[in-house]
């Protein structure tokens, strides 16, 4: 894990490796891995969409584009806001259905429903206070 250059002084210590790669939430480790893959693919698709947008902006502004110009480009605040909206729409398009319809399409015993009803949006969130926004795990 530490630097491969042995001439350098190391400031690391031994550590205990996490076993999170073995976590199974979705009933089968392959399903869990596929979820990770789908999210990673989302990151790659978004990174390429963002790069395309930057190329378009550079073409409009400069008439030409090089790899160095793309790497160095810093979007304006307006451009950043536009891309943020586009990103959030992309995430909703690709993943939002899991949150929106998951409640409808599974019965309370976890089995699939044949005739899903409308999702309830009226339940309150009052059973958790104080944890949001702190730490790295909620």
């Amino acid at each position: 894990m530490a630097d491969s250059n042995s001439k350098r002084k190391s400031y690391t210590a031994d550590f205990i490796k996490s076993d999170t790669d073995e976590a199974v939430f979705l009933g089968n480790p392959l399903m869990d891995d596929m979820m990770t893959s789908i999210i990673a693919l989302g990151a790659e698709v978004w990174a390429n969409r963002r790069r395309t947008r930057i190329i378009e902006l550079l073409m409009e502004k400069e008439g030409a584009v090089t790899r160095e110009m793309i790497e160095a480009y810093v979007p304006t605040e307006d451009e950043e806001a536009e891309m943020r909206d586009e990103r959030d729409a992309f995430i909703q398009l690709t993943y939002g259905h899991i949150a929106r319809t998951g409640e409808d399409q599974t019965a309370l015993d976890g089995s699939a429903k044949t005739n899903p009803g409308k999702a309830s949006a009226n339940e309150t969130d009052d059973d958790m206070t104080g944890d949001a926004g702190m730490g790295m795990g909620g």
């Binding site: 630097d3 400031y11 999210i39 990174a47 990103r87 995430i91 998951g102 944890d131």
Partner: protein, 399 residues
């Protein structure tokens, strides 16, 4: 005060430097050593205020996605899972706000696909987050190590590394499943800083959260603040903010992770803030008795064992001067702690699968009682540490 960017004349490195440095790993070393700038200052895409931009457009875009995905996971998926859990519990005739053991909670909701997906998606994003950063910093290790070496002995502020220091085993796991944890990776500070930055969903790019905590920091009643201690300082954001809040005070940030304080020092030098960072334990800080006017920490206690928590409180009491204040910022424990099935479920998977092994013990820890036991006068309704908080525990060392 001159900062390192000014010193090196490299406020935003040129595009050609970017291409040469990160066009290939092979080019990295050659360009770094031949740059007209200091070979050390790796900031190829400049800074956004005090946040150095991630060094490649693609990596920045990946983290932009992770930021957005965390918003989705924390809001949409969490809300859906919370509603789902409430529905399951009500169907079973159990009040969802009831406090149950995590084993009982798992028995009721652990097999539900939506609830499971909410945890899975959060953890998958966390894994992708760390991997992208790990690959970046290790893939260009020479440049980043040279950058740290160049500031190890630079000022403002000082850096103390203790590579032979005893490190308790309880601190050696991969906290938050960060590769190598806080002690086992040379780039622990780099990875932590950027990996947590997207957790804050863009609201802490300029350390706004930490500045807010420092702004809310209570002072001793006599108003005397000569020395301030930040325990478990990680990459030093609160330490820096405390120095800005108390510019005439001597501020120390200590952390078990050598790579953590090394990065914290480098960053403070870069920003031009005079903070002293040291690799030391909060429970064995080596400072003299009655030395500090304020001691604090941010989200540290849920990362330590109950035994260590008591030791840290005793040490904090020792190093504070009479009248000095102790202000530990973390999740509520004891009676004000969150209750309910959803919270217990989330605490469980966070503890078990997100590298927070002491979190469940911490949830049962009565911080106020432990502080009293250590000798503090405790105000359980102290001033809130952050927006949205109702209160924070405040300890005072009796005069």
């Amino acid at each position: 005060m001159m900062n390192r960017r000014t010193l090196f004349g490299a406020s935003a490195a040129t595009a050609s430097f970017v291409g040469a440095l990160f066009g290939s790993k092979k080019a990295s070393t050659a360009t770094t050593t031949s740059s007209k700038f200091s070979s050390a200052d790796v900031e190829p895409r400049g800074s956004k205020g005090r946040l150095e931009r991630l060094p490649r457009q693609h990596l920045e875009a990946q983290h932009d996605f992770i930021t957005g995905f965390r918003v989705f996971a924390n809001r949409d998926m969490t809300s859906a899972a919370r509603r789902r859990i409430a529905k399951i519990m009500r169907a079973k005739g159990i009040d969802p706000t009831k406090r149950l053991s995590y084993k009982e909670v798992l028995g009721h909701v652990g097999g539900d696909p939506l609830v499971a997906a909410s945890a899975r998606m959060w953890l998958s994003a966390q894994q992708i987050n760390w991997k992208t950063l790990y690959d970046e910093f290790h893939g260009n290790a020479n440049a980043y190590l040279a950058e740290m070496e160049a500031t190890d002995n630079a000022g403002p502020g000082t850096l103390e590394l203790n590579p032979d220091m005893y490190i308790p085993e309880y601190l050696t796991h991969e906290i938050h499943i960060q590769p190598g944890g806080y002690v086992g990776d040379e780039f622990a500070g780099h990875i932590y800083h950027y990996g947590t930055n997207n957790f804050f969903e863009g609201r802490n790019d300029q350390d706004e959260l930490h500045i807010g905590l420092a702004t809310a920091m209570p002072e001793p009643e006599d108003g005397k603040v000569v020395r301030v201690l930040d325990q478990g300082c990680s990459c030093g954001q609160l330490s820096v903010a405390l120095k800005e809040r108390f510019p005439d005070a001597e501020v120390w940030g200590i952390d078990v992770g050598g790579p953590m304080v090394r990065y914290a020092h480098m960053r403070a030098v870069d920003i031009g803030i005079d903070v002293n960072f040291a690799q030391r334990l909060a429970e064995d800080s080596k400072f003299p008795d009655n030395h500090f006017d304020i001691a604090t920490n941010n989200i540290m206690f849920h990362e330590v064992t109950t035994e260590a928590a008591h030791e840290i409180l005793a040490e904090s009491f020792r190093v504070l001067r009479p009248g000095g204040v102790y202000y530990p910022i973390d999740f509520y424990t004891g009676n004000p702690a969150p209750k309910g099935v959803f919270s217990t479920f989330r605490q469980w998977w966070d503890s078990r699968w997100n590298g927070e092994p002491w979190r469940l013990d911490y949830a049962k820890f009565d911080m106020a009682a432990a502080m009293r036991k250590a000798g503090f006068i405790v105000n359980e309704n102290g001033p809130p540490s952050r927006r949205g908080a109702r209160r924070n525990i405040l300890g005072t060392k009796p005069t």
